[in-house]
């Protein structure tokens, strides 16, 4: 029982990280109808920003991680937002209105660019991510130990998702995002500047990926240029599982994949860790291509 709760806790932390990344995929898809395969690399860059800035920031705040931790996350979010907007501006915007396949191939190209650029500039070897979360035991009973890490990860991730929910449901630009995802033409007739809303969508998605990266590296403290690959792919599967384009769906999908992966790793075999997400992907595509919360008819704009 204790073992199971422990695993569940770990699964939820991993899942909430996948959820954060998945939201970026699903938001971009909802508005531009393509999968931004470079999203995993934005995540990777976020981890590097953390890796490089954390020592100085921790130093600056006299080693106080309660301040340094959030500052590192914020910095990574800001840097990645800018990066996400640049990607959109340089690689995707010139292709607006072109067939989706062209944009998809471009996205894969952007992804490969980041991977190779980082490999040649900083080198392929993994580096150790510094500890940003103060290590304490929050709860300790005979059969269960809850450390601070999963709580901080889950708390931060859910806090950010709540914030995103607020932006999307209760602000003007969030309403414009929803309007745009439903009907591009009508949105333009309202005077909505499509390019700006698209840029804002990339800001939100990239910022969440950056936060996810800092949290992820706090659990698996190994930072390297290809680290975005698997979390990126799994989060993509999470977005499809929840129903691509559907925000609560992406969050739910992330949690399901994270928990399943952790349980399979713990109870079956670690060999299957990376197979879980892809098995789930095949199952959804076979039995429910629209995903758990996706609508049956997706409107093409």
């Amino acid at each position: 029982m204790g073992e199971f709760l422990q695993q569940l806790m770990n699964g939820l932390s991993l899942g909430s990280i996948y959820a954060l990344i998945a939201l970026g995929y699903t938001m971009v898809y909802g508005i531009l109808r393509f999968i931004n395969f470079a999203h995993g690399e934005v995540f990777m860059v976020g981890a590097f920003v953390g890796l490089w800035s954390a020592p100085a920031i921790a130093d600056f705040f006299g080693g106080n991680l309660f301040i340094a931790g959030p500052v590192v996350i914020l910095l990574a979010m800001v840097v990645c937002s800018i990066l996400g907007v640049l990607n959109e501006r340089i690689a995707y915007r010139p292709l607006r209105g072109k067939p989706t396949i062209i944009v998809l191939i471009t996205a894969i190209g952007v992804s490969l660019f980041y991977q190779n650029f980082f490999q040649s500039v900083v080198g392929p070897e993994p580096r150790r991510f510094p500890d940003l979360i103060p290590q304490t035991r929050v709860l300790e009973t005979d059969y269960l130990i809850v450390g601070s890490t999963p709580l901080v990860v889950i708390g931060t991730a859910f806090g950010l998702m709540w914030l995103l929910r607020f932006v999307v449901l209760h602000t003007k630009v969030g309403t414009a995002m929803r309007a745009l995802s439903f009907n591009l033409q009508a949105a333009r007739l309202m005077g909505i500047n499509v390019d700006r809303v698209v840029a804002f969508t990339f800001v939100l998605g990239s910022a969440l990926a950056a936060a996810a990266a800092i949290l992820f590296a706090s659990i698996y403290p190994s930072v390297h240029p290809l680290m975005g690959l698997f979390p990126g792919l799994k989060a993509f599967v999470a977005a499809v599982l929840g129903g691509i384009g559907n925000l609560p769906g992406a969050a739910l999908g992330g949690l399901i994949i994270g928990v399943t992966e952790t349980l399979v790793t713990g109870y079956v075999s670690a060999t299957y860790r990376d197979a879980v997400a892809f098995t789930i992907l095949i199952l959804i595509l076979l039995f429910r291509p629209t995903g758990l919360l996706g609508s049956t008819a997706t409107e093409k704009v």
């Binding site: 309007a179 333009r188 007739l189």
Partner: protein, 235 residues
Amino acid sequence: MLILSDLVVAYGAIKALRGISVKVPEQQIVTLIGANGAGKTTTLRTISGLESAQSGLIEFDDIDITSYKPHQIVAAGISQSPEGRMIFANLSVRENLAMGAYLRRDKEKIKQDREYVFHIFPRLHERMKQQGGTLSGGEQQMLAIGRALMARPRLLLLDEPSLGIAPKLVQLIFEKIQEINRELGMTILLVEQNAHLALKVAHYAYVLETGEITLEGPAAEIEQNEDVRKAYLGE
């Protein structure tokens, strides 16, 4: 107020507008009637900046807006209730109206304008919290017009407000169009296949046939025209 001169618009090789010239004077209702595929929707989409003109000129209050982007056109004072209504089905009635006022910052006036929309279409008030997609066709049309009014335009473009709506509601909506014109002094360019109705409410009319203006004149005169009666009024 709005002047189209020799406007040519093409979709690839197909010329949808072959050089039309139209004038919409201040505070009037001008209607553009014509059969299926005549180019009515193309005209409105081009004015709103959704299609670009191959040649010709669009002037609004003496400013050349031919190459403006859609959001610049809304900012200049032209809004549209498009063909098929294009309601945001996933947004509430309230949010749909808020999107109509997207470019505005004057909160108090936006509120007043929303009150006005509710005053002419009380049903929208009752349905304020409902998703746009749950409304009936007629209610969606009211919402589309209301949403366009929320931009506080000086020129309102209406594309086939009678399309696919119960006859009783069509009557009501056309009364409201006249009311908007009278009460607000709103200039309106109305596109319709239902020539009968359009000529009843309009001051001036243009007849569009396969991308060309074939006839124009005061609506009352056009209504009496032999050819029009045969072709569009079913006599």
